[in-house]
């Protein structure tokens, strides 16, 4: 069809690297990013002089009053290129949330238009060394904060607690149902050597016993802040076929945005879901692929309720049913729908949308080792909340 995404299947992922995920690395984040980028370039069968494009989304962490320093707490595309000693033709950062799908859109567009031939897409995550990740000794609330902080409404846990409770109340769900999500994410993360949670699965009871912070959000509903870097190499599909690994093709992407202007931390459930439905429509328009053909759906889980929101808005289960669906249908090792086969953020640490993109790549290129799924033909990698993030569809064969 003529109105499909013009760059459909024209760009492919051809290599990757992932640093160990730790609470705190003893090397600067920039050094970790450089080593990881070089490893990804080598994995793709290239040398750094082949690379003429760089992209990332470097937003976050910005919380807790820590100043952001390039190369230390964030690593921008420009910093990475410069410190690799390169002067690339294309170098740009994605500015918003949904950093991973956002960066993929930039890499795909640059490659499909010929603005670059080989792009390194990286993501560097930093866990500030002192203090709590989101704690804030605020005594005065100016600007947007004045509307909520004086009430004690502050930070992402309250932000996600409201739509999550709205979901639980609307559909008569129990927060205990989420144990299935955590058990699955951690079971898979426990099998990934670079994961923070390597060899550390959890039980349903451990989830139920964990501390609740902002009801119904408990400590285990949140991914753990970490230092870690991942890098991918992308190129045009015609070039990809000459490289050592089986290419994984980008079928299309879709980003979401809130329909209404609200306070940045006010996320009513319907805002989230409407954006998710829109992403589903846009993905289908771009790729011609429907949710039922996706065999590697990697749902974003930085806060556990996102799994429900993505499952339902993308049409992988009926609205209001996700809390039941996860009880029966998501055990990858038992042949369930492998929505967290890559461990997600809950099973790897706060790598944002990296685990989702990486699992699509590893499964569709047949590089997932002992986690390799029997059927891995169409992948879907989500990131962030639907109304600030997005999703990318991948295929093992060009469309």
């Amino acid at each position: 069809m003529s109105d499909r995404f013009a760059a459909r299947s024209q760009v492919a992922i051809v290599g990757y690297a992932h640093s160990p995920v730790r609470r705190h690395h003893d090397v600067p984040l920039g050094a970790l990013a450089l080593d990881t980028a070089l490893a990804a370039i080598a994995d793709a069968g290239l040398t750094k002089d082949d690379i003429d494009g760089f992209t990332t989304g470097s937003l976050l962490p910005t919380s807790g009053g820590h100043a952001s320093v390039d190369g230390v707490s964030v690593v921008t595309a420009n910093w990475l290129a410069e410190h690799l000693g390169l002067n690339p033709r294309f170098c740009a950062g994605f500015q918003g949330f949904g950093q991973i799908p956002g960066s993929v859109t930039m890499a795909v567009n640059a490659l499909a238009t010929g603005a670059a031939d080989y792009v390194v897409l990286h993501r560097a995550l930093h866990n500030p060394p002192r203090g709590r990740y989101h704690a804030n000794p605020m005594t005065h609330a100016a600007g947007p904060r004045q509307w909520v902080a004086p009430q004690g409404y502050f930070g992402p846990l309250s932000m996600i607690a409201l739509p999550y409770n709205e979901y639980l109340q609307r559909f008569g769900a129990s927060r205990d149902a989420m144990a299935a999500v955590l058990v699955e994410a951690r079971a898979n993360g426990a099998r990934i050597p670079w994961s923070y949670w390597y060899e550390k699965p959890i039980t349903t009871q451990e989830y139920l016993d964990a501390r609740v912070i902002a009801e119904p959000i408990g400590v285990l509903d949140c991914d753990i802040p970490v230092d870690g870097v991942a890098a991918f190499v992308l190129t045009r599909s015609d070039r990809a076929r000459d490289l050592p690994h089986q290419p994984v093709y980008v079928a299309g992407y879709a980003m979401g945005s809130p329909k209404r202007t609200r306070l940045p931390t006010h996320w009513p459930l319907d805002d989230i879901m409407e954006a998710g439905f829109e992403i589903r429509r846009r993905l289908e328009d771009a790729t011609g692929l429907t949710p039922d053909v996706v065999d590697v759906p990697q749902l974003y889980d930085g806060f556990s309720p996102f799994v429900y929101f993505w499952l339902e808005s993308l049409g992988l289960c009926p609205v209001g049913e996700a809390h039941r669906f996860v009880q029966e249908g998501i055990d990858a090792a038992a042949g369930g729908l492998p929505i967290l086969s890559g461990g997600g953020a809950l099973g790897n640490g706060r790598m944002h949308g990296v685990p989702q993109m990486l699992e699509c790549y590893l499964q569709l290129s047949q590089r997932a080792g002992d986690r390799q799924l029997t059927s891995a033909t169409v992948g879907l990698a989500c990131h962030s909340s639907p109304h600030f993030g997005g999703a990318v569809m991948y295929t093992a064969e060009p469309l």
Partner: protein, 150 residues
């Protein structure tokens, strides 16, 4: 009392030209919200443009509104990332849709506390949380006279 043991303060709002009328009304225990001078609709908080008619010159004025509304969600805070609220734990925050206009929302503390039975659709009224070092802060209380839209 040494500085180390002094209780942390709750954040004090810093009024600015977009909000001073809101906080001035709150000081008199009145809820006043920004109304667009072009289309007449309310928005909270006021943005650069009116989100309804997209006027870039919305000429917002703060007008008193009826503080009654409906609970759309809530959370019980059992920890707080703001040290000034440590002594208030646990406390309830409610996401309220005000009657005055569809989807006009306000987030505030529910003064009835975490033991009050609460369901989606419960009716609330606006009340004001007194503070030692700043204007009273709009909050909510369950409306005992109202039937929820359950």
């Amino acid at each position: 009392m040494t500085p180390d043991t002094a209780p942390a303060h709750k954040p004090v709002p810093v009024p600015d030209p977009t909000s001073e009328a809101y906080w001035a009304a709150a000081a008199e225990h009145r809820l006043a919200l920004a109304r667009c001078g072009r289309c007449g609709r309310f928005t909270h908080p006021p943005d650069v443009v009116c989100p309804h008619c997209l006027s870039t010159d919305p000429g917002f004025t703060f007008e008193p509104v009826d503080g009654r509304g409906t609970v759309r969600s809530w959370t019980v805070l059992r920890d707080s990332f703001l040290p000034g609220f440590a002594d208030d734990i646990p406390f309830v925050l409610v996401d309220v849709e005000l009657d005055v206009q569809v989807d006009l929302r306000l987030i505030g503390r529910l003064v009835d506390g975490p033991d009050a039975p609460l369901r989606l659709g419960d009716r609330v009224v606006t009340v004001f949380d007194a503070r030692d070092d700043g204007p009273p802060v709009p909050a909510f209380a369950l409306d005992p006279t109202a039937e929820g839209e359950r």
